[in-house]
């Protein structure tokens, strides 16, 4: 009984810590993005609240919480209220399968440093990232506004077609690691991260991840100059905040997934594993921000053509080649 209690307590502590770290990381990524973008454009970015702007996320939170929660008259009320939560929760849940450190020895028991080590972790992640489309689609539909609807339509088309390329680019990884579990995929990269064994898959996954998270150059669903704000045009206050936080949570989660699938997860010399993991996630996030500061938005036909005519065929060929090479290697040994 006591044993059970201790296990439960440890799991609760772990959950709380993961949640806290994830949420504060998302909040500070917003600040980091604004500051880095600012510096790239030779501005300072937010630097007034707190120590050089360090309390800006808090100020934003207070502002969002005290704003009016407005629901348009013709909106589908329940869906409208539900959608932002869906967007944020799916991103949070997806982190559950990401291992962020090797198992920890505590009170004489093994504590795996992953919220839940599913043996179909990748499929779970895919399921959730498909569910995330619902948050956007329902949000846009329920708002009963043309801009929101157009944004949601674009988001659906974009996310569905890039999910295909994303899925195809993961298959080689699964082939190489011979497992669906993220923990084992990370273990398989102890010597060489998959980004080096299979850079094509890494490139495709990275680009699709950009499209999945609706960031520049694929930010058509919220293209400001055509669609006001896209699918969250009608949202205000904390509901908009949830969409916003969901987007940055998604950024962290995708960074974590890219780290685990291609960059060797928490493996790394000298420094403790958790530092390696966080460092890699932040590095991926920085590249995302860097891309946003550099590239302009694609046109919608370019986006679709790039996804269907380049990424998907490339991913298929890559899959074939990887399979062939693995078969050849396996036959040779």
């Amino acid at each position: 009984m006591n044993d059970l209690l201790l296990t439960g307590l440890l799991i609760l502590i772990k959950l709380g810590m993961v949640l806290a770290v994830l949420l504060s990381m998302a909040a500070y990524l917003v600040l980091a993005e604004r500051k880095i973008l600012g510096r790239m454009q030779r501005r300072y970015g937010p630097n007034r609240v707190g120590f050089g702007g360090m309390l800006q996320p808090l100020a934003d939170l207070i502002k969002l919480l005290t704003k009016e929660d407005f629901i348009p008259a013709q909106a589908d009320k329940w869906l409208f209220m539900l959608a932002p939560g869906l967007a944020a929760v799916t991103a949070l849940l997806a982190f559950a399968v990401v291992p962020f450190a090797p198992p920890l020895e505590i009170f004489g028991r093994q504590l795996p440093m992953v919220v839940c080590d599913l043996n179909v972790g990748i499929l779970y992640f895919f399921g959730l990232s498909s569910l995330a489309v619902y948050g956007v689609a329902l949000g846009g539909w329920a708002s009963n506004s043309k801009y929101a609807l157009l944004g949601a339509l674009r988001a659906m088309g974009q996310m569905l077609s890039y999910e295909l390329a994303m899925g195809l680019s993961i298959v080689p990884v699964i082939l190489m690691a011979r497992s669906f579990s993220l923990t084992e995929i990370v273990q398989a990269q102890a010597s060489l991260p998959f980004a080096l064994c299979n850079p094509v898959a890494f490139g495709i996954f990275f680009i699709s991840a950009l499209a999945e998270s609706k960031r520049t150059p694929f930010d058509l669903p919220e293209a400001e100059n055509e669609l006001v704000a896209g699918y969250h045009t009608e949202y205000s206050g904390m509901r908009f905040g949830l969409f916003f936080v969901g987007e940055y949570l998604n950024l962290v989660v995708l960074g974590a997934i890219i780290t685990s699938l291609f960059l060797g997860g928490w493996h790394g010399p000298l420094l403790p594993p958790i530092v390696w993991f966080l460092g890699k996630v932040l590095a991926v996030a920085f590249v995302f921000i860097w891309i946003r500061g550099t590239l302009p938005r694609l046109r919608y036909d370019q986006l679709m053509a790039f996804g269907w005519k380049i990424l998907v065929p490339l991913a298929l060929v890559n899959l074939l080649v990887t399979g062939g090479v693995l078969l050849w290697l396996g036959g040779a040994s």
């Binding site: 600012g38 510096r39 790239m40 030779r42 501005r43 300072y44 860097w290 891309i291 550099t294």
Partner: protein, 176 residues
Amino acid sequence: MNLWRDIKGTFQPFWVTLRYLFKRPVTISYPEQKRTPPPRYRARMILTRDPEGEERCVACHLCSAACPVDCISMQAAEREDGRRQAAWFRINFARCIYCGLCAEACPTMAIQMSPEYELGNRDPLKLVWEKEDLLVDHGGKDPNYHFYRHSGIGVAAPRGGNDDELPPVNIKTNLP
């Protein structure tokens, strides 16, 4: 060749943004650092005085007629010595667009733009400035200009007393 151009065009910008990341921002952090506007900067107006220290404004209403947003109002009055002056003179800076048309219209150079730009205020009523607030005790951009030395004959100086003025003609002597 086109493909090569496209690839170059996609990756070169990354180097540019990375370089700019480490350059000094060009921002002027306003409340701490203030830039000095050039002397002819068009910010709030002042009402200047002539070299004798008298108010230049003769309450001719030309400025208020020229103002595209109608933010100047005044009441004309006459002093005992015959000089026209504004009994009250009011500019609503909450409406002013700082176009400078009033200063251009003014025949006496009374109203002039000054480079003082810090007018921000939370209470719009505090942006309505009266004559006392607008009056300064210098001549502004042309300190030597004196309206009554060229016009307004016989008010500030006796007839024929100004430099560019001939003594009054005795019309009787012109008779044949």
